[in-house]
């Protein structure tokens, strides 16, 4: 028990206690600069129900999450299979991938801000001297943010899949070869089923991360243009620290929290179900 005391103490003080406090804050009108601080009941939540900006942020969060996780899984799986099939240079290959993953998201945002530059950006140059305003055009900004996020986090999915591929027993492949299975059959009958579980785990981790993503859009677009890239987390942060509505912002934070927990719970159910079926 004594061994766990510091852990329990630290988590209680810095996670659980603020976790309860934020619920309390979300039930208040609290705007420090106007000296407003009073109990408001569920007012903040009631306001959210009819808040178009909240709905817009929910939409941006949903599109961002679904698009980036889907792309990450497809690209990550492809990269893992390609690296696994290599005879040499795997270490170097992994280095190129991990480079993108290990850097701060703020650096990624700066890298892509430069790539998206309307006149001197490499992307427009590569597209044949176009002058697309990636971060300023309401139709392009969200895809541009998704692309930057996929670049940074696809390697995570690739590494997990690659590690799982290494653990598939060689006998399985030999048996398939003896049975005369072709490349495609081997891929769909052996490799992909063996990857099923780790893919589910990767999707879980990535979905949770995407739902609470903040750095990349905050630095790259600041939620703009016209709120097209303002996710729930960015909206909550701006309410808290730019308009200093501590109560209302906390209500938004609680919504993000509930969303993340609901998704985590649903996935864990799914994982459990998968395990019992397999066993």
């Amino acid at each position: 028990m004594l061994l766990l005391a510091p852990t329990v103490l630290a988590l209680a003080a810095l996670t659980v206690y603020p976790g309860v406090w934020v619920l309390w804050l979300s039930l208040q009108h609290r705007i420090p600069i106007f000296d407003v601080s009073r109990f408001a009941g569920l007012d903040n939540y009631a306001f959210l129900a009819g808040d178009p900006r909240f709905l817009n942020a929910g939409r941006a969060t949903a599109i961002f999450t679904v698009a980036s996780v889907a792309l990450e899984v497809v690209l990550g799986l492809t990269a893992a299979l390609a690296i696994h099939a290599q005879r040499g240079g795997r270490r170097l290959a992994l280095s190129f991938l991990l480079l993108a993953w290990a850097m701060p998201a703020v650096v990624t945002a700066k890298l892509f801000e430069w790539l998206y530059h309307p006149t001197a950006g490499l992307i427009n140059v590569a597209l044949g001297a176009r002058s697309l305003n990636w971060l300023g055009d309401p139709g392009l900004a969200l895809p541009a943010v998704v692309l930057a996020d996929v670049w940074r986090t696809m390697p995570f999915v690739a590494i997990l899949c690659y590690a799982r591929l290494l653990a598939i027993p060689a006998e399985l492949y030999e048996a398939a070869q003896v049975d005369g299975a072709g490349r495609l059959a081997t891929l769909t009958r052996i490799t992909l089923p063996m990857l099923g579980r780790i893919l589910l785990v990767a999707v879980l981790f990535r979905t949770l991360d995407a739902l609470r993503a903040f750095d990349i859009m905050f630095v790259l677009t600041g939620g703009g243009p016209a709120g097209m890239t303002e996710t729930l987390t960015v909206y909550a942060y701006r309410a808290l620290f730019q308009t200093l509505q501590l109560g209302f912002g906390s209500a938004l934070s609680v919504v993000v929290f509930l969303l993340v927990m609901a998704v985590a719970w649903a996935y864990l159910k799914l994982l459990r179900a998968g395990t019992t079926v397999a066993a």
Partner: protein, 276 residues
Amino acid sequence: MRRPARRIGTLGDVVVLGALAAYAIPFFWQLLTSFKPEAELLRVPPLLPSRLTLEHYRVVIEQSLMPQALGNSLGVATLTTLLALVIGLPGAYAVARLPLPGKRLLLLAIVASTAFPQIATVSPLYLLMRALELRDTWAGLVLVHTSFALPLTIWLLAGFIREVPIETEEAAAVDGAGLLGIFRWVVIPLLAPGLASTALLAFLFSWNEFLFAYTFTVSGASRTVPVALALFPGVFEVPWGDIAAASMLASVPPVLIVIVLQRFLVRGLVAGAVKE
């Protein structure tokens, strides 16, 4: 008969490596930009500069907050890593080895807190930091970073501890070693690679963290690298070259870890996902 197949294999290797090198282009392009003369930055094509210059690095090092921020980040990330390991190692050992009442619940709480969104606690933590006068200090950042690195640390270390055969510990106990002795002479040496993996991930988390660092810092006294980079000043126009140089400096520790300590990094990443 084998030779052509092998040659195609090698060609395949080259293609894959080429594709992955291309994947890293955003990084290399920024690297190149950081050495480009100011006058050539906005003139693309040509892609390659006429000469290379260290001017941007000179500006960043002499005139920006970056050197101070690098010091802050190094300090905060190192202290966070140490604190998370010191608190987390005994906790992980208890979780992995000792019979505890309510262990399942505790494990669930630890897993749940790894999924905790930072935005959910940033407002109370802000009030807490203000009340304790920990805003704009290393101590404040180390504390909040540790609270997020700790669940991950325990999760990973508990997994690594379970991999240590329990017989070695039992043998030491038979030889009369106490819990502390077992820890010091048996568990820690066998755990060293796992400790390294865990430490790397905790360090990277703290080095890269932006939301808390941005909220709880006010000045150069505690601003970390991501914050300094996000707030990089441009007076009349965006100093793309200086920003590129600053991004490269911000990437030095992560890049070194990827190149030199890749084995430990991958092991930690995979362990975190595969353990039940």
